[in-house]
Symmetry: C2
Subunit: 213 residues, 2 copies
C-alpha cells in the first residue's frame, strides 16, 4: 500500500465519519421539529457548516431522510441476524428480538424511521427500498410466531395480527420516549413483553392472583 493509497484510505474513513455526523445531526433535528419543518440550512447551521457542504455528501434533502432511515433498517437487519440462530423457543426468540428492537427505537435513527418514513415524504423508489426492509422484519416476526405456535410456546393465534399489535406497541415508543425521562429502554421492553406474554386480565375465580402472581 503506497503512501497515497493510505491517504486515500484515511480520507475514505474521514469521509464516512463526516457523513455519519451529518446523518446524526439531521436525524436529531428531524425528530425535534419534523422533516418538513427542517430546512437544509437548519441542518447546516447545527453542524456549523455551509449548505453546499451537505450537498457534497448527499444527493438531495430526501436522500438525507432516506439515509437516516436506512441507518435504522441496517441496525434492524443486524438484530435479525443475532436472533435468528439462537437455540430457544419461539416466544423466547420474540422476546430477544423485541428487547433489541426497543434499543433501536430509542435512538434518533429509529425514531426517524418510524415517524418520518410512513408519510409520503419519499419518492416511490426509495420508499420501496425501505419498505422491503421493514417488510422483511414483519415476515420474520410472523415466522417466529408461527414457530412459537408449533413448538408450543405461543398459543394458537393469527401471527399477522399479533405482529401488528406488538409492532404497534413498540413503534409507538418513538412518539413518547424521552432519553432524559424516567423510563429506561430495558424496563420498557420487560414490561411490554410481560403484558404480551401473560395478558392483564385476572382469570375468573382467580382474583387471588391480584395480590402476587
Amino acid at each position: 500500500m503506497t503512501q497515497t493509497a493510505f491517504a486515500r484510505e484515511v480520507s475514505k474513513e474521514a469521509r464516512e465519519a463526516k457523513r455519519m455526523a451529518i446523518l446524526e445531526a439531521a436525524a436529531k433535528i428531524f425528530n425535534e421539529r419534523g422533516y418538513h419543518s427542517t430546512s437544509m440550512s437548519d441542518v447546516a447551521d447545527a453542524l456549523g457548516v455551509s449548505k453546499p457542504f451537505l450537498y457534497y455528501y448527499l444527493k438531495d434533502k430526501e436522500d438525507l431522510l432516506y439515509q437516516c432511515s436506512r441507518a435504522a433498517t441496517e441496525q434492524l437487519h443486524a438484530l435479525l441476524d443475532e436472533v435468528r440462530d439462537a437455540k430457544v423457543s419461539g416466544w423466547q426468540r420474540l422476546e430477544m428480538l423485541f428487547r433489541r428492537y426497543v434499543h433501536v427505537m430509542t435512538t434518533d435513527f429509529g425514531v426517524c424511521l418510524i415517524r418520518n418514513t410512513a408519510q409520503g415524504n419519499m419518492n416511490p423508489e426509495r420508499r420501496q427500498k425501505l419498505w422491503t426492509g421493514r417488510r422483511r422484519l414483519n415476515r420474520e416476526v410472523e415466522r417466529i410466531v408461527a414457530e412459537g405456535i408449533a413448538d408450543g410456546s405461543i398459543r394458537s393465534c393469527d401471527p399477522k395480527k399479533l405482529s401488528f399489535a406488538m409492532f404497534g406497541a413498540f413503534n409507538w415508543i418513538t412518539f413518547w420516549y424521552r432519553a432524559d425521562g424516567p423510563q429506561k429502554p430495558e424496563t420498557i421492553a420487560d414490561y411490554f413483553l410481560d403484558i404480551f406474554a401473560r395478558g392483564v386480565v385476572v382469570p375468573a375465580g382467580r382474583e387471588d392472583l391480584n395480590a402476587r402472581p
Copy 2:
C-alpha cells in the same frame, strides 16, 4: 322565527355542511399524501372549488389540519362519555372504550389526528389544545386501569405503561389499516383485546391449552 331568521338558520347549516365537506376532503388527501405534500390547491381541486373558497371557511392551512384533528378528538370525547357511566368492571370498561376507539382510528379524521398531529406541524397554542384533549383520554384510561386493579378484574400493573402499550397497538392501526382491506374494525378490536386480556404465552406445563383454551 321570522322568515329571515329561518333563512339565516338554513344558511348556518349550509355553511356548517360545507365546512365539514372541506374537512373530510382535506383529511382524506392528508392521509394519502401527507400534510406537507398537500397544497391548498390540491384540496380546492378535489372539491372543485377555488382556493379563496377555502380561506372563506378557514383561517389558514394549519387551521385546516387543526379542525380535522379536532373533529377526531371530539369523537373521542363523546366516546369517553358513553363509556364512563357503564356499570361494568374496569377491564370491561377498557374493552368498551377501545372497541369504540378502533372505529375512530379507522376514519380519516382519526388517522389524521394520529399521523399528522404528533409532528411539529402545529403552532404551540393549537397543538396545546389538541394535546390536552388526548391527555385527558390518557388519564381516563389510566384511571380505568386503576379501577380495574381495584375491582380485581385487572392484575396489578403500572397503569401508565399498560396505557402506552394499548394506545400504541391501537394507534398503530392508522398506519396499516385500509378500509378496502380484509380486516374489519370490530375484528381487529376483538383480536387485540383478546391478546391484551390473556396474553399469548402458553403457561408452563399447560401446553394442552394450545389446542383449545
